[in-house]
Each structure stands twice: as C-alpha cells, then as structure tokens.
C-alpha cells in the first residue's frame, strides 16, 4: 500500500515508521533534558538544603542490622563518640563506590568513631549489590521515615558527621572517596578537639 504526496508515492509502512521514529527521537531528547534538569536541581539541593542543619542535634533511631549473624534491631545513638552516618541505596552506583571507599577508610575511622550505612532498600536488593553484600562496616535497614523526615535526606549517598555531643558538625553528598575524606576533615576543622585524622 502506497501513500501519495505531491507526486511522490511512499510505501505506507515507511511513512508510518519514519514519523514514529521522528517523534521517538524528539521524545528521547525531551527525556534527556528532563533528567539533566532533575540532576541539576538535585545538585543544587544536595549540599545545601538536604539533611540536618550543621549545629542541629542528630536524632537517634532504630535500625535492622543487615550484615551481622544475629540481627536483633539495634539503636543508633549519635552521642558519646564521633559518628559518621551515611545514607546509601544499593540501586545507585555512586553509593556502591562510596561504600567501597568507606571500607578502605574504615580501619582508621573505627578507632575513633562509629560508622553506620543506613539504607531503606529491601534485603534482596541489598544482597544483590556486591559492595553492600561484602561490606564489613555496619549496614542497617531503616524505615523511609528516618531518612526522609528525621534526617530530611532524599539524595544518596549522603553523609552526616556527628560529634560526641550528638551535634551535626558536617554534612554533604559523598559520591567518592575524596568527598568522603573531605566530610571527615570538615569535622577536624571545627573548634572541637577531634581525635581522628584521615590522611
């Protein structure tokens, strides 16, 4: 079957296919720009609006340990020692690389602070992500309310550095080892006497 336009006979299938292809390409461009705009917005929001305000008291919460043999619910108490709380999602690849970086830094950090990687993901999703499955740092499952409402964190990987008084000293998106080190050093620059250093 042919369609005729200005003396040009086009096979109907070719006609339909070309128009759909044109619209599909247009839609793809739209989706790309939409995603880029979304990431830009997240970037702006990432370090400024996300998370607890520096100087604010960090709340405690109950979590379900994931990588312990016996796993009764545990409580995260951000007081008594320095704490690094990292919100991460096994679905995000930068969270996986941050977790690997944290693993490398953990031997030094754990001497002076407690570490917790908190996630809202299902156990099967956690088990499916290699970095999470093989992690030795404490990983805890939390209800979405803890990250979204209690800590006002919607992007991952996002870290909070909390001092022994339970006060947030630094926070930010920690998408790689450099930003993780920077977050920990931010705590060092405060007038509070910090006993740890990460070289």
């Amino acid at each position: 079957m042919y369609l005729t336009f200005a003396d040009i006979a086009l096979p109907l299938w070719l006609f339909a296919g070309q128009w759909v292809l044109l619209f599909a390409l247009g839609f793809l461009v739209f989706v790309m720009f939409r995603q880029i705009a979304l990431f830009e917005r997240l970037k702006d929001a990432g370090s400024e609006r996300e998370g607890l305000t520096v100087g604010e008291k960090a709340p405690s919460f109950v979590y379900q340990p994931v990588n312990r043999r016996a796993n009764p619910p545990a409580r995260f108490e951000p007081a008594g020692s320095w704490s690094l709380l990292l919100f991460a999602d096994p679905n995000c690849s930068s969270c996986q690389s941050t977790l690997l970086s944290l693993e490398r830094l953990a031997p030094r950090l754990t001497q002076s602070m407690q570490l917790l990687v908190a996630t809202t993901a299902e156990p099967a999703v956690i088990a499916a992500a290699e970095a999470f499955r093989q992690a030795t740092v404490e990983i805890g499952r939390i209800p979405a309310d803890v990250s979204m409402r209690l800590y006002r964190t919607t992007v991952t990987p996002f870290g909070h550095l909390i001092d022994p008084e339970g006060i947030v000293r630094a926070k930010g998106v920690v998408a790689d080892e450099a930003s993780l080190r920077k977050l920990v050093r931010q705590g060092d620059q405060k007038p509070v006497n910090v006993e740890f250093t990460v070289s």
Binding site: G17, Q18, L28, Q35, F39, A121, A128, T156
Partner: protein, 182 residues
C-alpha cells in the same frame, strides 16, 4: 477510506511498539549492572549471580531484537505473538512487584527513567500490552507484509538502530552525569 485509516493506525501502533522496545532494550543494555540489581531485587536468588547477569543481558537483547524485527516486517505474526507475550510478562512482573510492595527501581528504560515499580508503570505496561494485542489482531484483518523496496526497509531498520544507539548513549551520558552530580 476507513480501512486505509485503520491500517495506517495499526502501522503507527506497530512502529510505536518497535520504538519503545528498541529504546528500552538499548538503554538497559547500556546499564546491565543496574538492571541486574533490579532482577535481584525482584527475588531472583543472589547466589545465582551468573543467572542474574545472564538474564540482565538476555532480556534487553530480546527487546532490541524484537523491536528491529517489528520494523523489518519479518515473520509478522510470529513476532507479534512474541511481543504480546513479552509485554504481558512485563505487566505481570510489575503487578508482582506492586503486590509484594518491593521498593525496587524499575529501570524499565535503564537510566532514562528513575522510577520505582508503581501504579503508573503498571498502567503503561498494560497499555503497551493492549497495543501489542491490537497490532496482533490487526495483523489478522490487514496484511502486515510491507510493500516497499528492500533498500527502503533497510534504511528504516538502520534508522531504528541509530535510534537505539542514541538511546543507549543517552542512558550512558545520564549515568555519568548522575555519578558526577550526586
């Protein structure tokens, strides 16, 4: 006149299905690791790592091949049946994820979409299944054989392949941007 309009609509529906399959397949192939995490989250035993990785590669490849087969006009009835089965299976998977309340990223279009399995996703999946059924039914009423020179068909297939490459590249670029921005 009505007959012609219906045939044009069925051709448009078929080309749309092909575009969706090519985009979804290519974008997933650009992020096989992410799709493997989704499969793991759906309950496939994580100890069967080899199976998960295999399926994460197999499903998108099948989607891409089916999309191209739809455009090429080869074995229209057989290809349409396989597309209906595939779309129906996707709807069932979304339904399963919703009923189990699994908080798993869908990655139906790789990194082109960030959404989790949702009612909206289920509606989209059911609509695509219905579209595939309409195309299959239309194939019984109208000839789906393409009357066009082979070169023209080849050019159209190339166009869709290029579209697939663009979708894969877009998915990769978005993944890189995401890594840097977040």
């Amino acid at each position: 006149m009505l007959q012609n309009t219906l045939q044009v609509l069925i051709f448009l529906a078929r080309a749309s299905l092909a575009a969706v399959l090519v985009a979804a397949g290519a974008a997933k192939l650009a992020d096989v690791r992410g799709f493997a995490v989704t499969l793991g989250g759906l309950g496939i035993a994580t100890r069967l790592d080899f199976l998960i990785r295999g399926l994460a590669f197999l499903f998108p490849s099948l989607e891409l091949l089916l999309g191209i087969a739809l455009v090429s006009g080869l074995w229209p009835t057989l290809i349409n049946i396989v597309v209906v089965v595939l779309m129906g299976s996707f709807s069932l998977v979304v339904l399963y994820a919703l009923r189990r309340k699994l908080h798993v990223a869908c990655r139906c279009f790789g990194t082109l979409s960030d959404s989790q399995f949702s009612g909206k996703g289920l509606t989209r999946s059911i609509l695509l299944t219905l579209l595939a059924i309409i195309v299959l039914g239309g194939g019984r009423a109208y000839s789906l054989q393409f009357v066009a020179p082979p070169v023209a068909i080849l050019l159209l297939v190339s166009g869709f392949l290029l579209f697939g490459l663009t979708a894969a590249q877009a998915a990769r670029s978005i993944a890189v941007l995401k890594e840097r921005m977040i």
